[in-house]
């Protein structure tokens, strides 16, 4: 690979990889938080109203 362009190429693919990871992981993390929140609300109904 031409070293003049290596920085631009690898940065582009790196940013895209970060976006792919974010789209894979963030819904999972959100779901785990939601599950915990809903389970806590089910144990304490007063909290679910809040």
């Amino acid at each position: 690979m031409d070293p003049r362009y290596a920085f631009f190429i690898w940065m582009s693919f790196g940013i895209a990889a970060a976006m792919v990871l974010w789209n894979v992981l963030s819904p999972r993390i959100e779901r785990n938080q939601l599950k915990r929140r809903l389970s806590e609300a089910a144990e304490d109904p007063a909290e679910s109203e809040a």
Partner: protein
């Protein structure tokens, strides 16, 4: 023709179960296509005779830019369905698609800047294509902000649906900006009517990458819609049943 399957898609528990089954497969296929498409783009595709290796940025820039437009179009269609038929799943689709669209637009802009510097000599120019794509990012951020500004999920989704519908006017402006105005940005070479103007060795990795990023959007949308449904339907018996099985 029997439309029962289509009407059943409008039911939150049915949709949730369907997404639960399909999302992991879509995600796996998406990642495989992205790895093969981008890998072939980096290491297999021949150098461009004018741009040399710098052209390889096409394998992430073109798919993310094209999908950033498609996602907004999907949001506008879902917004129209939400406003006309008050369908809960369409409301959820509008708000769930916005962060995904914003992430694709950020990558399209960033990779465009990284491609622009070695080719044009500047990271940014206030060109019609770049500026309208930046407006698209602001529209996505506007939908996200609007959704967070309301405490009532239904009212928030309806406001987002209006913004998605109004903002869709920007989609053809982004797409045709390179034809309508003098632009540093090149005109369409792949996503156009007729034959693409790049060689097959360069084209197939790009098509794989494009398909992979589209599937990634589909899988991420299903997952985010599931999360929104869980929260909005948290008092429904199907959510309680689902929680008990976890």
């Amino acid at each position: 023709m029997n439309w029962t399957w289509f009407h059943r898609l409008g039911s939150p528990p049915y949709f949730f179960q369907l997404a639960e089954r399909w999302a992991p497969w879509l995600m796996a296929l998406a990642l495989a296509l992205i790895v093969v498409g981008c890998g072939a783009g980096l290491f297999y595709a021949p150098k461009d005779y004018q741009q040399g290796d710098a052209f390889r940025i096409i394998y992430v820039h073109v798919p993310t830019a094209a999908i950033s437009l498609s996602i907004y179009a999907v949001m506008a269609v879902a917004g129209a369905v939400a406003l006309i038929w008050r369908m809960k799943l369409a409301e959820v689709a509008v708000v769930a698609a916005a962060p995904i669209g914003a992430s694709f637009t950020v990558v399209a802009l960033a990779t465009g800047m990284l491609w622009g510097k070695p080719m044009w000599g500047a990271y940014w120019v206030w060109d019609a294509r770049l500026t309208s794509e930046l407006v698209l990012l602001f529209l996505y951020l506007g939908v996200i902000a609007l959704h967070n500004a309301f405490s009532d999920a239904r009212a928030a989704a309806r406001a987002c649906a209006w913004l998605a519908l109004i903002g869709v006017v920007n989609v053809p402006i982004v797409k045709f900006s390179v034809d309508w105005w003098n632009s540093l940005h090149q005109t369409a070479s792949i996503l156009k009517l007729g034959k693409p103007s790049i060689t097959g060795d360069m084209l197939w990795p790009l098509l794989m990458s494009l398909a992979g990023f589209y599937l990634l959007f589909g899988a991420a949308l299903l997952r985010r819609m599931q999360n929104h449904l869980l929260w909005r339907e948290r008092r429904a018996s199907w959510v309680q049943d689902w929680l008990e099985t976890r």
